[in-house]
């Protein structure tokens, strides 16, 4: 149970970072933390008590194994996260070139 609560804490930190931080880079780090919280939760949901790695071997019988599917899915989610992060950092670099600052309170020309 504690582990689940810890992922919740991580999730909340991520949300806090995105909502409250003014620095563009810190906002991006918030997104990354949020992503990791969700991925960790996905892995945790696959765990079975006393489970072992789901590797099939001829001579032994598997009684209790963890669910292998979420691991594969999380890999996909991580790759998607990488693409998003790369794009976000790319945009942040261009923003810095144009505005000369990472402070989002100074980057607001769009209003109304």
């Amino acid at each position: 149970m504690d582990v689940y609560l810890l992922t919740l804490v991580l999730f909340s930190i991520g949300i806090y970072c995105i909502v409250r931080k003014r620095n563009v880079i810190k906002t991006i780090i918030g997104v990354i933390i949020l992503e990791y919280a969700v991925n960790l939760f996905f892995i945790l949901s696959a765990y079975r008590t006393e489970g072992r790695a789901p590797i099939f071997m001829q001579e032994e019988e598997i009684v209790n194994m963890v669910d292998p599917l979420p691991h594969a899915l999380v890999l996909t989610a991580i790759v998607i996260g990488l693409a998003t992060t790369a794009l976000l950092v790319g945009i942040a670099m261009r923003l810095y070139e144009k505005y000369g600052t990472f402070d989002i309170t100074k980057i607001k020309e769009l209003k109304g």
């Binding site: 949300i15 995105i18 563009v24 906002t27 991006i28 997104v31 949020l34 992503e35 969700v38 939760f41 996905f42 949901s45 669910d67 599917l69 979420p70 899915l73 996909t76 989610a77 998607i80 693409a83 998003t84 794009l87 976000l88 945009i91 942040a92 261009r94 923003l95 144009k98 505005y99 980057i107 607001k108 020309e109 769009l110 109304g112």
Partner: protein, 500 residues
Amino acid sequence: MTASSIIPLFVAIPLAGAFITPLIGKKVKWAPDVIGNSLTFVLAVLSIFSVMMVSSSGTIVYSVGGWMPPVGIAMVLDGLTSFMLVTVNLLAFIIAVFSVNYMEKFTSKAKFYCLFLLMLAGMNGVLISGDMFNLFVFLEIASVASYALVAFGTERYELEAAFKYAIMGTVGSLFVLLGIVFLYSYTSTLNMADMAQVLMQKGGGNIVLMVSALFIMGFGLKAALVPFHAWLPDAHPSAPAPISAMLSGVLIKSLGVYALCRIFFNVIGMTADISSILMFLGALSMVVGVFLAIGQWDFKRLLAYHSISQIGYVVLGIGLGTPLGIFGGLFHLFNHSVFKSLLFLDSGAVEYSAGTRDLKKMGGLAEKMPVTGTTSLIASMSIAGVPPFNGFWSKLIIIIALVQAGRHGYAFWAVVASVLTLASFAKVMKYAFFDKLKEQLKQIKEVPIFMKLSMSALALICLFGGLLLVGAVKIDFLDKATDVLLEGTKYAAIVFKGIG
């Protein structure tokens, strides 16, 4: 070669195009235009073909890699999917034609068409996917491509809008992923049809409520329903005009409204609570969107706020859940994608010729740009609900459905929003097209041929859109889509019957 093998083509063709375009595009100047237009044309034809296939042989399921669902990934083609495929691919083709001339002023056409086709692949993937996680992957493909496209001009405001959009979009996608995690750990399956069956046997509980809330947040953000709409008025006007048309016309619908409907109607099962939440969000977006729109002076920003408002109509109609309400909602979805794309293309044409988006700096453009003036008059009348254009019929159906269901309050607000829409487009037409011609605008010329062609094509669809309500077209195109949502969680049984 069975009938089902055309289903993966909707993803494979644009993905292949997105791969080839930047490779060839650097060497051969005309290649990106030809590849982009011919591929979207092929897709549009295929999508119309898919409607005919669904009407002749019912729901078709393609098993990816020969692995049978529910273990393998399924791609499902049914009435709603083929309806959305026609909307998306037809619009994509017309917008690609428009881009031939419009994108000349940007430096890299190859990159533009690469991202455009990637976004199209993602949207088509969301539509045909019968697998929960697959839906998420395609959703992210389309979203990431659209973040990049919003920033395509790399000017100050474009970058700012793209950053905002990317952060909020990513958070929305993560909520969707979290919802999928909960659903998977509850049902131990990812196939949508199988999931619906397991949920029916196990019954809903708190976890289903939690998942519903996460999906409403996630997909609501993609659909720009009102509490989650903050990114749209920045992102849509900042993109190049064809992309604004794509985003407002089809992206928010295929990623937002379609996914919301598919999951709530066919997987989780519609309840009275969810229906009233959707209706409330819809009505709120409808009214707030139009109030915010009426005071805008930036042409594209005004249109973006109207997108929020019109999406409200669609969600209100579909959320009502009666056959007529769903029918009206889906019909309005199609109509909105046509006239809103046309309006964004018109604003692009004005920007192309007159070089401004500020309504106060325009005036009398109808004299110099007859095609743009006429088409935007048609589109404005459609969006405001003036008969006989297509927007009138769908709004009328939604309002009749609301009155029939005894929801007179919502019907009243729908009428009010429609009147305010008319007022704000009267303002656009007066300031931009009918007023006296300004001195500095004497030199401008009408836009090139391809832009005229695509705008005229969309205007024709606006004019004759009402004809979709009669005859065989209605039965094959709109009724089939309505039936899919009405059959609810019986979807599972239908999909399993269609495997083959």
